[in-house]
């Protein structure tokens, strides 16, 4: 799980072009949206694509993302439970 969390931090920084942010700057329970990393709705769509592309998880309802993308912790837990690759 720790390796997956680190992988997710690195992917998020790269895919979402988060300049000046290092993986170590993101705590596992930090909010990814709102006051946390400040991600926006387009970022949320990119994360949905990432789940599909890298972990074989298709979200049929984008509203599911609200709970899944709360933090690195919630993302890692969901991916561990549902990944197909």
């Amino acid at each position: 799980m720790e390796a997956l969390k680190q992988e997710l931090k690195e992917k998020i920084i790269t895919i979402l072009n988060l300049e000046d942010i290092q993986p170590a700057d993101i705590n596992d329970n930090d909010a990814l949206f709102g006051d946390g990393l400040g991600l926006d709705s387009i970022d949320a769509l990119e994360l949905i694509v990432m789940l599909d592309k890298d972990y074989g998880i298709k979200l049929s309802d984008p509203k599911e993302g609200r709970a899944i993308f709360q933090s690195i912790e919630t993302m890692a837990a969901y991916i561990t439970e549902n990944r197909t690759k």
């Binding site: 979402l16 072009n17 300049e19 387009i42 970022d43 990119e46 694509v49 592309k53």
Partner: protein
């Protein structure tokens, strides 16, 4: 209000070089556009993290606009931009990302830049402009159009200033020529003067 309009400031960005009012102020030799743009952004000490998410056309437009707007009173400043290649540079990248049916993952972050006028939205958000903005496509730089359209905006009180821009980006070739028009200034806003500054 009717009368003459004047160019109060102008800038160009091309070949990794920035000129402001005719004077070279920044240069990064032998760098790709992405690196050049990042260094220019840092040099301008602008705080707008969304810059790094923009496509190349928006980065180019944003930086050129920033040179002229960053220290000014920009209330009621309209945006009038144009180019020849529209958003083709990003359109091609997006198309490449969806051309393989077995690896079909269209990127929302790339897709949102497949319109040329998105760059105007970026500038408007940064400077809190709620003003008229338009992006046109021409075969070549069209000084008569800029002169006429900006004059209409100013003469009908649609705007107090107009930021005009020719911003072109395709296949790593780029050029921005952006200038600010108002009723104050020293260079009269005529097609001939616009063309002269564009070629300078």
């Amino acid at each position: 209000m009717t009368g003459k309009q004047y160019i109060s400031g102008y800038c160009s960005i091309e070949n990794n070089t920035v000129k402001l009012n005719g004077q070279e102020i920044f240069n990064v030799p032998d760098a790709a556009f992405a690196e050049f743009a990042k260094q220019l952004y840092r040099d301008m000490e602008t705080d707008y993290p969304k810059f790094f998410k923009m496509d190349n056309l928006s980065k180019l437009s944003f930086l050129a606009a920033e040179l002229l707007l960053k220290d000014g009173d920009n209330e009621n400043t309209a945006l009038l931009f144009a180019n020849a290649s529209s958003s083709l540079d990003t359109d091609v990248k997006f198309n490449d990302s969806i051309s393989d049916k077995d690896n079909y993952f269209p990127s929302p972050a790339v897709f949102v830049y497949t319109l040329p006028n998105i760059c105007l939205g970026e500038i408007s958000i940064k400077h809190k402009l709620y003003t008229e903005n338009s992006f046109f496509i021409f075969d070549t730089f069209n000084p008569e159009f800029f002169a006429n359209y900006a004059a209409v905006l100013l003469n009908t009180d649609k705007a107090a200033k107009v930021l005009c821009g020719w911003v072109e980006f395709l296949n790593d070739e780029y050029r921005a020529f952006v200038y600010l028009v108002s009723v104050n200034g020293t260079i009269e806003h005529t097609p001939q003067n616009i063309q002269t500054l564009y070629l300078s």
